[in-house]
């Protein structure tokens, strides 16, 4: 029972920020960049609050970085040098959609072979989430795919009420972080009333943008393998793979050896890759198993709403809308689902 307790604190926003910044972690938080938001290394925390729209790249870049060095080596001698990753970090301001995406990644990388690289970074990263009370913009549909509610995965989850945060604790290390912070107070009935008001307002703000319930999607996609929609979308698709890069739940990778300029030393790296790229399925004989854009789009959406969803019982699209927001061909999961419904 000791561990099973809901602990809520009220923390003054600025005081809490200063406290976090004084901790022995590198802090990555949401900051503005050319009119959009990004996660970046910060010296002060300036979360945009309810003005937030999903960051250009999701926070996966810290847990699963592109060009990730697996090890270094010396050519010619089978000598391998493993790299010790010592950084301890806090990700501040991660929204529910992205926390849920991380939860999905946790499962993917630990299932079967436990990915020690991912596990290490995940373990060394404290997640401080910020809850959403209203949809961030028109592209998002977190509620439609069941990813607005966040139940686990965070160390602390904040509800931003202007000058203060309601802080709920999601892990032992989250609790440790809060016990060291002395300037909190326990909630009063008035606080609870206030948060209840906000939660009430939230209802009705989010609507299901799909013409069906999320639970029906695996069946819908399964029965749409030969739908003409894939050809139609394929005509529009530019094949750039930006959607794979942007997506908080896309994790496919390539492995490559790269040499330093002395051509003796090198590194084996894991690069982000994307199923929307033509050569993704190329084999030695020259055959490409998903040769058309239609094939590749069908695969990408089936991964999100069918293949992985059948295994993990949750939509593998968290509805952040990033892929749609930055798609030059304006292909959005909402459109795809709804056009398969007719």
């Amino acid at each position: 029972m000791k561990n099973q307790k809901t602990i809520i604190y009220i923390a003054n926003r600025d005081e809490f920020h200063s406290y976090l910044l004084s901790q022995p972690y590198n802090i990555y938080a949401v900051t503005e960049k050319e009119g959009r938001y990004v996660f970046a290394d910060v010296n002060e925390i300036n979360d945009p609050g309810d003005k937030y729209t999903p960051t250009l790249l999701p926070p996966k870049k810290y847990l699963y970085p592109d060009e990730w060095i697996l090890f270094r080596f010396k050519r010619g001698r089978e000598e391998i040098f493993e790299i010790e990753d010592k950084e301890k970090r806090i990700l501040f301001g991660v929204r529910p959609c992205d926390i849920n995406a991380i939860n999905l990644m946790d499962k993917i990388f630990s299932d079967g072979y436990n990915d020690n690289y991912y596990a290490k970074r995940r373990k060394d990263t404290i997640l401080i989430g910020i809850d959403c009370f209203s949809p961030c913009d028109d592209h998002s549909f977190c509620y439609s795919v069941g990813h607005l509610d966040v139940k686990e995965g965070y160390d602390l989850l904040l509800k931003d009420i202007g000058t203060a945060y309601f802080v709920s604790i999601g892990s032992k290390r989250g609790r440790r972080l809060m016990t060291k912070f002395t300037k909190v107070r326990e909630t009063t009935p008035h606080d609870i009333e206030q948060i209840r008001e906000i939660e009430k307002k939230k209802e009705g703000m989010f609507i299901n943008k799909f013409k069906t319930k999320v639970d029906n999607l695996p069946l819908l996609f399964r029965s749409s393998i030969s739908s003409p929609i894939w050809e139609e979308l394929g005509e529009r698709d530019l094949g750039c793979g930006a959607c794979n890069i942007d997506c908080p739940t896309c994790y496919c990778f390539d492995i490559q050896d790269k040499l330093e300029l002395n051509i003796e030393d090198g590194r084996r790296v894991r690069d982000w890759d994307g199923c929307m790229l033509r050569d993704f399925t190329l084999v030695g004989s020259g055959e490409i198993f998903r040769a058309s854009k239609a094939d590749r789009l069908r695969h990408r959406f089936n991964r999100k709403f069918h293949y992985l969803m059948n295994v993990y019982k949750k939509s593998h699209c968290v509805g952040c809308g990033r892929c749609a927001r930055d798609c030059l061909a304006r292909i959005s999961p909402v459109e795809v689902v709804n056009s398969l419904m007719v």
Binding site: N103, K107, I192, R196, F253, G266, C275
Partner: protein, 294 residues
């Protein structure tokens, strides 16, 4: 009262990935292997006999390894020797691109990296007492050879054994010395065919499906193991169906682009299946309805 607003969670319910991973080994670190023998089969294919420096490799027929050359990269390669050979194993490699070409330049005493074994392999024990029909096209003989050798070493565990093997021309046939041995054994059948014979060729001529047509097969007790280029599968399956062998008694080993071998990189996926984990060996009835399989 606050319980409903802030749900209660068990603080020990941390994601699985964050627990007990201190001693988990590095999934991408290859072991060092030493080449102890090289045989040149053709201009393009060589066989390498390899011994791991630390361990011996335990595997079952049909599994594969990732061969690593530091500075060049990795390639998935089938294990070709019998799993009962202790201490060393064999691979047979066609020169295709960067990794495989580099491999071809290696000599006895040189080292390389090995990860694995990976994949499921053939269902060897399930077919004890059955008739085995091996259908190999081109490089398909490489993974099948591991199973064939095992079945010959344990001949009494299986009923009839028939090996059908096709290549473009006689010069492309692999493991020629062994083929002679198998042909002379008397307790198994072996039929070879080529598309383009030379003047010394005395075997069959034409596509491999013709060999099936002319073979004596007891469909009720036969399990077929088929490995070859993508185009071959469809015709072989049609021919075997015509002989009365049902889809659940045919096993295929499929090739796809592979980068990790451990179900993470996504490259090898056929619809919802991962060739590196669920395969490379699939029962035909399992994948028949997958749009991306054949």
């Amino acid at each position: 009262m606050s319980e409903r607003l802030f749900q209660t969670i068990d603080l020990d319910m941390r994601p699985e990935i964050m627990k007990d991973n201190n001693n988990s080994s590095n999934i991408f670190r290859p072991q060092v292997g030493e080449i102890i023998k090289v045989d040149r089969f053709t201009n393009l294919e060589k066989r390498f006999t390899i011994r791991l420096k630390r361990d011996s490799l335990r595997f079952s027929p049909g599994q594969f390894i990732m061969v690593s050359i530091l500075g060049i990269g990795e390639a998935p390669i089938s294990l070709s020797s019998s799993p009962t050979d202790k201490g060393e194993f064999e691979i047979c490699v066609r020169k295709m691109g960067s990794v495989t070409s580099y491999l071809h330049n290696l000599e006895v005493g040189d080292t390389l990296g090995i990860r694995g074994p990976y994949g499921n392999g053939f269902p060897v024990e399930e077919v004890y007492g059955k008739d085995l029909l091996f259908v190999a096209g081109g490089l398909g003989i490489i993974p099948l050879r591991s199973f064939i050798k095992y079945s010959l070493e344990n001949r009494d565990r299986f009923n009839d054994i028939l090996i059908l093997y096709g290549a473009k021309n006689p010069g492309e046939l692999l493991f020629v010395d062994e083929l002679k041995e198998w042909g002379n054994r008397g307790d198994i059948g072996l039929k070879l065919t080529v598309d383009r014979p030379d003047e010394r060729w005395r075997g069959h001529i034409g596509v491999i499906t013709r060999l099936i047509y002319s073979a004596e097969i007891n469909p009720d007790n036969t399990y077929a193991f088929i490995v070859g280029p993508p185009v071959m599968f469809k015709y072989v399956i049609m021919e075997l169906n015509a002989e009365g062998i049902t889809d659940d008694k045919m096993y295929l080993s499929l090739e796809r682009h592979m980068k990790c071998g451990i179900g993470k990189c996504g490259h090898c996926q056929i619809n919802n299946r991962y060739v590196c984990m669920d395969g490379p060996v699939f029962r035909y009835s399992q994948i028949k309805n997958l749009s991306e399989a054949l």
